[in-house]
């Protein structure tokens, strides 16, 4: 019984290891196809198959062994340079890898290598090795390959010594498996060779090996060969693997999950103590709490790190996926990756695996064009699929771009119409960007012909849903003729997230920071006046755009609207739900906090407004708002969709005036002025006394440079005939304008607002320093001719900039 269990353990280890090796194999084979002469890679591939073959022979998986055997033969020919790798051989080898994988999963499920028939594959592999080798030649092939291997050996060893456990273990296999090929060699010779390569043959280990005490040992034991080389191999294996074992161990994921939960509890307890400490005055106690705080934070980070895996773990299979898809569609695609070491929580890695695979297949199948079409379009025949991952603001960004044909919004519209997903009326009002997001609608497939690669009904909507399930977002950008980029943003971890804590009806609610865009606080007069109603729907003008509002209290069933709006201040939390924005009016905004997300019991699962609950610093429970659920409940998502489309359509027909984002400035009595925000590098405030003079020019020191200042009120005074507006006493509001590395500061009186508007210059007044006037926010606003003003005041500015 004990022996049987030991055996199971061996099989399990064999499976785990073989899966890892197979992934490596996929990568190596695809890489090999690109550079068929890479001896290192060939050797690595050969070793992997060797390992599998040797072990499954020992574990008596005959079918698996026979498949691995023919694969190995073919590989040995490649390695000896008597065959050159081509697409056909690569495909056959990859099919072999697939067959092996299938058998492994059979072994995992049933304990035997399954009852599929692989005769055809074996035949195919056999044929391939015979194509270039005449039968007569073959008779001498075996011994020749034997010597070749001996020669190769030192070369093989070098990388494995320096690299990971898999390599080391593969290396252990080397002499043991060679025995099959070179059975005519005498044991003495083999022993001598072992000794040559620095191995000590110890007979005693043999018995241990058969007891199955160590996997490496068990594997190293050939079924019916001389014990001495096997033992020597075991010996080396042990000493090497112990080096690796010193630094890494395998840990059950369940244990890590438990640790993660406990750390979550600790974080909560820490928060409670911190809150309690705030009321204490004992310095020793406070110091201890600070230490506890720091240690907890570090522990939390540490435990979270144990669950982190590089995204490369799932990316590694994409070259193979791309190769297969490209081959089926008759395309040439090269994969490039950046940031494979970017780490993500294990659960998230698993959750994004399938969506990413889908996106990659899509990009190759639909994105990249056929070589002929690419060449005709003046692009290289080989398409490029670029995958990039990086951390940004506590999130992981993944971008998958191709340099293919891009997506034609018109085609998308036609398709959506055909499938009855939108009506012609809606369609007419869609902007190109909105048309692109049609691709995420359920039941949408752009493939003009349905291939067996994609277009099987599983569309981008599934990708979007799956990514959103883990709190991520998907965005698509495409340029016809230039390619498509899919941007995915996902949180680092699901267990602990930053959240904004707000109150409503006396209870606290947490809003995940991911959905948070900005906070708007209206006070006094503003609070009473700036919330307007459109047929009962409250809106706020956020930089000129209507932001639909929802009242948290009202949505949660307690009508506190009166309280919120009658008060002196109104707090609006601007949130992103789906691709729309809305404002959530809350009673008060408390703070941002790291919260531990806990699921709700099944009695409460049905309420889409809540995403879960968390325990706050004082030990009380707070609900976490589900922003999308809340938006849907409040009706802001669907409602807004139509209106914003209409709005954009309206702007589009607005006489073709370009929409611009403008910075509004106040200049004493001279009125309101506007500068396109795109011309503004930064807004700064300088104390009055920091102004120095240099060559009749007011300057300030700014970021290690001398920044010349132009007082706009003086520049405009002559023209506007207004009094020189006094600055407000002790500081200067400065708009920094930068061109080609040179900056100039424009001193203004007040910075009023930022608005987005269609710039419709209604009256060209032809005055110096002004381009004309436009009505912005219902007020006549003069547009500054920044370029002109600077040119007149500092004639050398642009000349130098151009020279530089």
């Amino acid at each position: 019984m004990a022996e049987l269990e030991g055996m199971d353990e061996v099989v399990r280890e064999f499976l785990v290891e073989s899966y890892e090796n197979l992934d490596q194999l996929d990568r190596d084979l695809v890489a090999l196809e690109k550079s068929p002469d890479s001896a290192d890679r060939l050797a690595s591939v050969f070793r992997t198959i060797h390992t599998i073959k040797g072990t499954c022979g020992f574990l008596s998986f005959g079918k698996l062994e026979s498949v691995a055997h023919v694969g190995e033969n073919l590989l040995s020919r490649l390695r000896d340079g008597r065959l050159t790798l081509n697409a056909e051989i690569t495909s056959a080898l990859l099919s072999m890898v697939d067959a092996v994988r299938r058998m492994l999963s059979d072994i995992e499920g049933t304990g035997s290598d399954g009852d599929h028939d692989y005769a055809e594959l074996i035949e195919r592999l056999n044929l391939l090795q015979e194509v270039l080798t005449p039968p007569a030649d073959r008779a001498t092939a075996e011994p020749a390959s034997g010597t070749a291997q001996v020669d190769d050996e030192p070369e093989d060893e070098e990388p494995s010594e320096a690299t990971a456990a898999t390599d080391a273990e593969a290396e252990v296999e080397h002499p043991a498996a060679e025995i099959d090929v070179e059975s005519f060699e005498t044991p003495l010779e083999m022993q001598a060779r072992s000794a040559d390569s620095g191995r000590v043959a110890t007979e005693t280990i043999e018995t241990k090996a058969f007891a199955g005490e160590d996997v490496a040992e068990a594997k190293a034991t050939p079924p019916a060969a001389g014990a001495a080389p096997a033992a020597s191999a075991t010996d080396t294996g042990e000493s090497r693997s112990s080096n690796v074992a010193d630094t890494t161990i395998r840990v059950d994921v369940g244990l890590l999950d438990k640790l993660m939960n406990l750390v979550g509890e600790l974080v909560l307890a820490r928060n409670q103590i911190l809150q309690f400490t705030a009321t204490q005055s004992d310095t020793a106690f406070i110091a201890t709490t600070q230490r506890l705080n720091l240690i907890t934070t570090e522990l939390q980070e540490g435990v979270m790190k144990t669950r982190m895996q590089p995204i490369g773990n799932i990316w590694s299979k994409f070259p193979r996926v791309v190769r297969d898809v490209a081959l089926t569609c008759g395309k040439q695609v090269r994969v490039e990756m950046e940031g494979r070491e970017t780490e993500l929580d294990k659960t998230i890695i698993e959750a994004i695996k399938d969506p990413l695979t889908h996106v990659v297949r899509n990009a190759v199948d639909h994105g990249v064009e056929s070589p002929e079409r690419r060449v005709a379009a003046g692009k290289p025949a080989e398409g490029r699929l670029f995958m990039r991952a990086f951390h940004e603001g506590g999130q992981v960004n993944i971008e998958i771009s191709d340099d293919g044909a891009g997506i034609d919004p018109e085609k998308l519209k036609q398709k959506a119409l055909q499938r009855g997903l939108v009506n012609p009326d809606q369609l007419a009002r869609l902007s190109d960007r909105e048309a692109l997001s049609l691709i995420f609608l359920p039941g949408f497939s752009t493939a003009e012909k349905v291939t067996n690669v994609s277009g099987r009904g599983v569309g981008m909507d599934v990708v979007k849903t799956n990514i959103e399930k883990i709190g991520g977002t998907v965005d698509i950008h495409s340029k016809v003729g230039h390619g498509t980029t899919l941007k995915i943003k996902i949180p680092l971890t699901l267990a602990i997230i930053p959240a904004l804590v707000v109150t409503s009806g006396g209870e606290r609610y947490a809003i995940p920071q991911v959905s948070l865009l900005e906070l708007v606080r209206l006070e006094g007069e503003q609070a009473r006046r700036s919330i307007e109603n459109i047929h009962g729907a409250p809106v706020y003008r956020l930089r000129g755009n209507l932001l639909p509002l929802a009242y948290l209290g009202r949505e949660l069933g307690s009508d506190d609207t009166a309280k919120v709006t009658q008060g002196e201040t109104v707090n609006i939390v601007v949130l992103q739900a789906d691709d729309r924005q809305f404002g959530l009016v809350v009673e008060s905004i408390l703070d941002t906090e790291e919260i531990v997300v806990k699921p709700l019991g099944k009695q409460l699962k049905g309420i889409a407004t809540f995403a879960g609950a968390t325990i706050m610093g004082d030990g009380r429970v707070a609900l976490i708002l589900d922003v999308l659920g809340l938006a849907q409940r409040a009706g802001v998502v669907s409602e807004v969709r139509d209106r914003s489309i209409a709005e954009k359509a309206h702007h589009a027909t607005d006489g073709g005036h370009e929409r611009q984002t403008l910075l509004l400035l106040g200049m004493g009595d001279a009125g309101r002025f506007a500068i396109p925000l795109s011309m503004v590098a930064r807004l700064e405030e300088f104390p009055d006394d920091s102004v120095e003079r240099s060559a009749e020019q007011e300057v300030v020191q700014y970021r290690g440079q001398i920044l010349p200042l132009l007082r706009l009120s003086r520049v405009l005074r002559a023209a506007a005939e207004a009094d020189p507006a006094a600055s407000d006493g002790d500081s200067l509001q400065v708009v920094v304008y930068t061109e080609q590395g040179k900056s100039v500061g424009l001193v203004v009186d007040r910075i009023l607002d930022i608005v987005e508007d269609a710039l419709d210059i209604q009256r060209s007044i032809g005055r110096d320093g002004l381009l004309g006037s436009a009505v912005i926010q219902q007020r006549v606003t003069d547009l500054l001719d920044v370029h002109g003003i600077i040119e007149r005041a500092i004639p050398s500015f642009f000349a130098q900039a151009e020279a530089a």
Partner: protein
């Protein structure tokens, strides 16, 4: 040969209830609760049970009894369910009683409404009747019954 069972008992209004002792995880005094808007009225709120978030179901609401008097604080009987721990809010906690199976009887036909679903049977004690609560059903709120209370 008669068998005995242990019941953890509690009071609701003027009724005396029991739950098999092995289903009860613990009994704790009143805890501060976080109200859950939009939830069924039966759900009184969420409590923090040593870092675990537990839903509290008010048995008075569940059984359609009168509301508790203002100022009266309920006790928590925390029961184990397939979905984790769940708290049942009751008026007062009684003793753990060891009761002979022979005194058991099916609920009479005259019990109607929600009580019929939730009361599994009656033990005839010497001075009063002990009603056995079907905890699995009591915490199931997805049926029509819970909605009526809303």
């Amino acid at each position: 040969m008669s068998m005995t069972r242990q019941f953890s008992t509690f009071y609701l209004d003027d009724l005396f209830f029991g739950i098999e002792v092995e289903k009860v995880q613990e009994v704790i005094r009143y805890q501060e609760m976080t109200r859950v808007p939009l939830a069924s009225r039966v759900v009184e709120g969420l409590i923090n049970l040593r870092g675990q978030i537990v839903t509290a179901v008010d048995l008075r609401q569940r059984l359609r009894l009168r509301d508790r008097e203002a100022g009266e604080l309920p006790m928590n009987v925390v029961v184990r369910t397939d979905d984790g721990a769940l708290s049942l809010l009751v008026d007062e906690i009684g003793d753990v009683l060891e009761i002979d199976d022979k005194t058991f009887e099916q609920p009479p036909e005259t019990i109607s409404g929600v009580a019929r679903d939730l009361i599994r049977g009656v033990y005839k004690l010497r001075d009063q009747l002990l009603l056995v609560l079907d905890t699995e059903r009591a915490v199931q709120l997805d049926g029509n019954e819970s909605d009526n209370g809303n």
